[in-house]
């Protein structure tokens, strides 16, 4: 397949990565989780947005931190498991009202392995979300929200942009505070906070004024009640459906039904609501065959893992030494297939200008 010189729709990457995360949540096989991490990392390496590598690294660090905390907690306040003892920590005596809590004491290998697999699973979820962030800037996602949600998207974009400005003004004011050393301790906090809050208020008003003069929030048409009910109810169903699917204990059928029904209701509601807005999007993202491909690969992997888990639960939750289940491993490897066909994004306009014509 030839690759067009354009960026993939951000939603395709997010769907792919989130399904990969969902697949990871279905297994405790450490090797399988490692393969999923490797696939996510490979995709970021080949298809990451500019600056995506830096974002991904932050998520990897967070994941490592979570893993460490998980294991340390298991060792310090877990305990009480059965099996071979790995460590014998001195046990702290706790007062009577805290019976049931154990600090220290004998730690079994089982405990440590459970902490490790648990932490690994959580870490993999975090890394998958990190991959989504690194593959497509979430702000691009906001730009392609349905028209009815335009105001919410704008608010989030503005808030993201305002944060660094707020940090800058706080630093400036902190430096200025050295010029008037306030002796009274009571006033010291006010000395710092009052100008920061004033400045933030000024900024907000200036921004509101600028947005208003540029036509933001022009009068809208009437919104009818059923449109609201449809979109809100749809969203609720989607949330419930996702919850049921991820939980997995009730089987997948009710979850899938709720998700599908919710999506349809929300789509109809949002479309009807959007008809009242006369807002358009500059350089809209396009959804074409490649996007379908990437999204379907993500969904396919999740479906395959769910199916394998249903047929042979033991293969995804090994009890002894982890060994990769052949089928599941193959399924996860398929998730890497967009490396071969997804467009890698247009070259930057600067590079285009440098190229001899």
């Amino acid at each position: 397949m030839n690759r067009p010189l354009r960026r993939l729709h951000p939603a395709a990457w997010w769907i792919w990565a989130l399904f990969l995360a969902a697949a990871a949540s279905r297994t405790t096989d450490v090797l399988l989780l490692l393969i999923i991490i490797a696939v996510a990392g490979l995709m970021v390496y080949t298809h990451g947005a500019p600056g995506g590598g830096r974002v991904f690294r932050i998520y990897v660090l967070v994941a490592l931190f979570v893993l460490t905390v998980r294991v340390v907690f298991r060792i310090v306040i877990g305990g009480g498991g059965v099996g071979e003892v790995a460590l014998n920590l001195p046990e702290l005596s706790v007062p009577d009202w805290a019976t049931g809590i154990r600090i220290g004491g004998a730690v079994t290998w089982n405990e440590i392995v459970m902490g490790l697999t648990d932490g690994m699973r959580l870490g993999t979820l975090i890394i998958c979300v990190g991959a989504a962030n690194a593959l497509a800037d979430p702000r691009r996602m906001l730009r392609s929200l349905p028209r009815a949600l335009h105001s919410i998207g704008t608010a989030v974009v503005v808030a993201i942009g305002l944060a660094p400005q707020l940090v800058a003004s706080t630093l400036r004011i902190r430096r200025a505070s050295a010029l008037r050393s306030v002796k009274s301790r009571r006033l010291r906090l006010r000395r710092l906070l009052a100008p920061v809050i004033d400045d933030a208020m000024d900024r907000t008003l200036a921004l509101a004024l600028a947005m208003e003069t540029r036509g933001f929030g022009r009068p809208l048409g009437q919104r009818s009640g059923w449109v609201f009910a449809l979109s809100a109810g749809g969203m609720l169903l989607v949330a419930l459906g996702v919850f049921l699917l991820l939980d997995g204990s009730a089987g997948s059928r009710p979850g899938v039904l709720m998700l599908a029904g919710g999506l349809v209701a929300a789509a109809i509601g949002l479309r009807a609501a959007g008809r009242h807005r006369s807002v358009t999007t500059y350089r809209p993202e396009q959804w074409r065959a490649h996007e379908w491909g990437v999204a379907l690969v993500g969904f396919g992997v999740f479906a395959a893992i769910t199916l394998i888990g249903g047929l042979d639960p033991g293969s995804l939750h090994p009890s002894g030494v982890p060994q990769p289940p052949l089928l599941a491993t193959l399924a996860v490897l398929i998730a890497a297939s967009p490396v071969l066909f997804a467009p890698t994004g247009a070259p930057s306009s600067r590079a285009a200008r440098l190229r001899p014509s």
Binding site: R191, R214, T280
Partner: protein
């Protein structure tokens, strides 16, 4: 195009109207300059054009404003966006998007234009404003002049017929201001846009104006062609002041007009000898000071002596390291190399004086400053009355004018009796009268034996106030010497009077008068 009919507005917090009985029109395709003292209602007049006043600000209005046939009473600012492009005082605070390209598109997205049109208009606007090279840049990474041009471009994309600019050059260095004004005049000449500009520094804009609207503090408004308004105006650029002083008729409005007349004046005048700066002993000295932020070098190897009784002005582009040098001289910024040795205390008024104010009234701020400096109660108030008499004691610091707020912060810094007084861009937002009184204050401080250092983009102010000028570029000191020598040396920094009187090194109207006498 724009018609004010018996228009008055009174804000809810004020007893007297900000604008009263305005009757005037602005022709299509004209560049109209709105001027007047600080707080006289320039911004109010601009806001009335697209309905921000009173729809956004509140206030009681009588009379009417009709813009291209639309009465602003019947509409809201958002619905005027396709007709009036409005750029506020601090464009950076109004940015909505992340990068230049998407910022330009924002207004069109709101207007609901189709993607193909948007794409074409963004390209067209990038070229018209001359910012095509900035397309992918993050808005936070732009310089002041670039920000201003992007802000103008971002309202042009919806093809308005009127462009309203509120002090577009007040924060800019002379070169950046030239860039912005050149872009604006091109819009008037090539595209027939009607432009309304509010500006303190008349010398920057008046030569481009077709019409001048003068707002007096009383709220009365005078409108007419530039020459007739300038004849009776209370705020005039230096070249007009010079014309009045030597009795030229008709009054020259531009340096070019005045130069023709100046030839006869120059005959018989002799160049005054360049007097060496008479100043006291060195009170602070910077020795090969460098300041870096990460990989950016803000100040590079600067060596500078400050003397008692001397007023020094530091000039240079935005980002040339002036503020960092000030903070290093003040002592709270540790230089990465080199050292600052001061044999006295330092007071500093930062670029945003409001950063230092945190209490509810002028009186509370003054008392707090006295307590913190260990001075007798009332010291700060006395200083404040000397600098800017007549500020009500119970007024809130945020309600003060720019000049009054500057005076209050300066007073709180002077309470500790510093030997060195640093002011970082004190002239932003000050009108001619406020600049004149600031000049007097700084001269008095110098006469008291303090070393005064200030940075400014305003060459006219520098000529009035300073004995010595230091020019910085890329963190280095590129020129340092008596102000008459430095300011006449380069055309970019030369004040109007110096350009008129060249080659004689006369900088201010007073110097010319003295030379004649």
């Amino acid at each position: 195009m724009i018609r004010f009919t018996d228009y008055s507005i009174t804000y809810s917090t004020a007893d007297i109207p900000t604008l009263s009985h305005v009757d005037m029109g602005i022709e299509e395709g004209h560049l109209c300059l709105v001027t007047g003292p600080t707080g006289s209602g320039k911004s109010t007049l601009l806001g009335a054009i697209n309905g921000l006043v009173p729809h956004f600000t509140g206030g009681r209005v009588s009379g009417s404003v009709v813009v291209a046939g639309r009465d602003i009473r019947d509409t809201v600012p958002g619905a005027m966006a396709d007709l009036v492009g409005y750029v506020g005082q601090d464009p950076q605070r109004g940015f909505v998007a992340e990068t230049v390209e998407y910022e330009l598109a924002y207004g069109m997205e709101q207007a609901g234009l189709d993607p193909a049109t948007m794409r074409a208009r963004v390209e067209e606007t990038l070229d018209i404003i001359g910012i095509a090279h900035l397309r992918d840049k993050h808005l936070m990474d732009l310089s002041g002049g670039e920000q201003q041009r992007v802000a103008i471009g971002s309202v042009l994309t919806v093809h308005p017929r009127i462009l309203v600019l509120d002090e577009p050059t007040s924060a800019l260095d002379p070169a950046a201001a030239e860039d912005v004004l050149a872009a604006v005049t091109r819009l008037v000449h090539d595209m027939g846009l009607t432009v309304v500009i509010a500006e303190h520094r008349l010398e920057r804009v008046i030569q481009h104006a077709d019409q001048v609207v003068l707002i007096e503090r009383s709220g009365a408004v005078m409108s007419g062609d530039p020459r007739s308004v300038m004849e009776s105006s209370s705020v005039v650029p230096p070249v007009v002041e010079l014309g009045r002083a030597v009795g030229w008729d008709p009054l020259p409005l531009t340096v070019r007009d005045a130069r023709v007349r100046a030839r006869e004046l120059q005959e018989g005048l002799e160049a005054p000898p360049v007097e060496p700066i008479v100043a006291g002993p060195v009170v602070a000295s910077a020795e090969r000071v460098s300041v870096t932020y990460g990989r950016v070098v803000a100040v590079r190897d600067v060596t500078l002596d400050l003397r008692r009784g001397e007023v020094t002005v530091v000039m240079g582009r935005n980002g040339s390291g002036k503020s960092s040098l000030f903070w290093a001289l003040q002592g709270s910024l540790r230089p990465d190399s080199g050292a600052v040795a001061a044999s006295g205390t330092v007071g500093l008024v930062p670029q945003t004086p409001a950063d230092l104010l945190f209490l509810g009234s002028v009186e509370a701020e003054c008392d707090q400053a006295d307590t913190d400096a260990g001075q007798d109660s009332g010291t700060c108030r006395e200083l404040l009355d000397e600098i800017a008499p007549g500020i009500p004691r119970d007024s809130h610091p945020r309600d003060l004018s720019e000049g009054q707020r500057l005076a209050l912060v300066l007073a709180t810094q002077l309470v500790a009796r510093p030997d060195i007084v640093l002011l970082d861009e004190p002239t932003r937002g000050l009108d001619y009268a406020a600049k004149e009184s600031l000049t007097d204050v700084l001269h008095r401080l110098a006469a008291d034996g303090k070393a005064v250092v200030l940075s400014t983009h305003d060459v006219e102010f520098a000529a009035l106030v300073a004995d010595r000028a230091v020019v910085m570029a890329e963190g280095e000191v590129v020129a340092d010497g008596p102000v008459s020598g430095i300011l006449t040396g380069t055309p970019l920094f030369a004040p109007q009077v110096a350009r008129v009187m060249a080659p004689l090194p006369l900088l201010t109207v007073r110097q010319v008068e003295e030379a004649i006498a």
